[in-house]
């Protein structure tokens, strides 16, 4: 929190604890076809009228959405509908794509992350990311996890660093599997283990939020189950946003679901509601498998 609060002070914005901001019943203008949530949940991130362009081509149209704190939110929708684009704009990974521009706002703890004073590097430490294809560094398992803490100076001694690595590997359930070969390359692990290693690497820099872009699409069912279990476990401490095109997965793991279609956010709300009584025909069509 300290970093964003610092940024906020510089911006002259007063913010309270993140718990103060609540999901209010959504106004129809900002949230087309939104199922208003009955209970109030603290929110972590907010997107307002977010549009993203790749060169001339618009990939996202005026997306406004609230992401609840310490819950799992799933983005679903047919491929090419802009889920990844939206996810990547939440930690400014789109900045690295040449020709990618955006309008609108993304607020984290009340701070606009696209504000000039925000340090992108620190932002990405706070908002970790797990990618579709497991992408461990071609370094040892240990170094994969230790890299983030090292560059951010999170450990002052070798012992502290060892401690961080052990904890993170333990939290992802990898420690028992790899404790004897910490210094073998991370790329020598199986696909599922690699993905859990990537999750361990992401949590090693103690982020608040973890963004996952189809983290299980390259994994077999057993590894998938393992990662889903892990997400449930991590949800206690982290806000998790997961993109998936597996609707069973969204239904299994998430509390909230947002459905995207052709670059627009069609509908979002409690997962149960989205899956049992969607408001929009397109959502209905997608979850019943009529297209996708």
């Amino acid at each position: 929190m300290t970093f964003l609060e610092g940024q906020a002070e510089r911006q002259g914005i007063a913010i309270g604890a993140s718990g103060d901001t609540r999901v209010r019943s959504a106004s129809p203008a900002a949230h087309p076809a939104t199922v208003a949530t009955s209970e109030e949940t603290p929110i972590k991130m907010t997107a307002r009228k977010l549009s993203v362009f790749y060169g001339e081509k618009q990939a996202l149209f005026d997306v406004s959405l609230d992401i609840p704190d310490r819950q799992i939110m799933a983005f679903i929708g047919p491929s090419g509908c802009g889920k990844s684009t939206f996810l990547r704009s939440l930690n400014r990974m789109n900045d690295t794509i040449a020709g990618c521009t955006m309008t609108g706002e993304v607020m984290v703890d009340g701070i606009n992350i696209y504000d000039r004073v925000v340090d992108v590097v620190e932002l990405r430490r706070r908002i970790g990311m797990v990618f579709q294809k497991p992408n461990p560094f071609p370094k040892s398992i240990y170094d994969n996890v230790a890299y983030g803490p090292r560059i951010h100076g999170l450990a002052s001694s070798k012992e502290e660093l060892d401690e961080i690595v052990q904890t993170c590997l333990a939290r992802t359930g990898l420690l028992d599997e790899v404790s004897t070969r910490l210094h073998e390359p991370g790329t020598s692990l199986s696909g599922g283990q690699q993905q859990r290693l990537c999750i361990a690497r992401a949590i090693a820099v103690s982020p608040d939020i973890i963004l996952m872009d189809e983290p299980c699409s390259a994994l077999d069912p057993i590894a998938t189950a393992r990662v889903e279990e892990l997400m449930q476990e991590l949800q206690k401490n982290y806000t998790i946003v997961i993109v998936t095109h597996n609707m069973q997965q969204a239904a299994r793991v998430s509390q909230r679901t947002a459905f995207f279609h052709l670059g627009t956010l069609v509908e979002w709300g409690m997962t149960e509601q989205i899956f049992t009584s969607p408001v929009d025909d397109r959502t209905q069509g997608y979850i019943t498998g009529r297209y996708g």
Partner: protein, 435 residues
Amino acid sequence: MSSLDQSLKVSGPGAAPDDAAAQRDRRSRRRKTANLRFKLYGLAAIVFAVGMLATLVVSLIMTGYPAFTQTMVRLDIELPASEIDAAAPSDANYGKFFRDALYGLFPEVKSPPQRRNIARLVTQDAEYMLRDTVVAYPSMIGKTHSIEFTASDILNQLHIGAIDRELPSDRRSISDAQIAWYDKLVAQGRIRAVFNTALFTEADSRHPEIAGLWGAITGSFYALMVCFILSFPMGIAAAVYLEEFAPKNRWTDLIEININNLAAVPSIVFGLLGLAVFLNFFGLPRSAPLVGGMVLALMTLPTIIIAGRAAIKAVPPSIRDAALGVGASAQQVAWHHTLPLAMPGILTGTIIGLAQALGETAPLLLIGMNAFITQQPGGILEPATALPTQIYIWADSPERGFVSRTSAAILVLLGFLVLMNGVAVWMRKRFERRW
């Protein structure tokens, strides 16, 4: 097969089924012969290329191998203590000691012109070799020693069979008398052929029998060092900037096109540039490996930049994403991930670039690295030759001994090139894709 036949038959409406089958047969036969012809063309091209290469190498070896042996003449030299001042041994008259020993072998020859013909059997530098030996080992003074001297070029050629003694005497460079003296020396067991170490340890000389490549090798080494030190960091910096940081716009496109074109600029143009800018404008020393290296760096730079960019491009974006995702800055991504992963590729390109530079002649001629220099350079500012320019000098020399030495020098240069390219290939194999 039958269903395929049917479908093909159906697809040829109007034609009788048998007709269609015959046509299909013909077409497939034509395709097969075309394939075969194409393969044969390729094979012929390869056979031709390999044949040319083999011809080149074989002819080089045929002309070059005599240069790897050197004939030696053993003389018994008396070093009287009375005539050598042990405090200043270099002042003594070694020419006299040497001639005494040599002429002593042929007491019947008295006339000075005849004696000079005897002296022409041994290298003209013999007395200096003797002096240097005695200065190095003063304990030799006062005794008689059996010492081997490098034979002169004509005697060397005769001994290794490069001069045909059956030829009429006016058509060979060695006289009948000299052949007779040679036979006498052989009869006394004073002639011996040894491996020509001088070729690798001595610098250039007017006399082929004592001319070596060491000066050119050190000159080339210094020039390549300068070239590497300049072009490697600059090439990497440029490649990283262009790949990782540069915005994609008209200016960077222009730079990219120019770099690619630079790689195709004839090397003599770089030589002219070096002459005009480095020598005439900045007043750097002529013939110096420093200037040679700077000119070669200009030529190597585009190669390294192009290889570097290709290697950086080959690093999967997922690695960059991963690093950015844990909050690495662009600079950290480049230093910690992209560059280390691209380094084998960059080094391979660099070695190939340096190998090209090693063989480059034209620009070095323009900045004067083809001077006649009999000492190996002591540093990058001293005048020097390089391997290719040494070959150029020797190829231009009329003495018989330089003909084989030229081929030998080319073989040495080719050896270095093969070695460098071998290292590059090995590195490419060794570090191939680790992700």
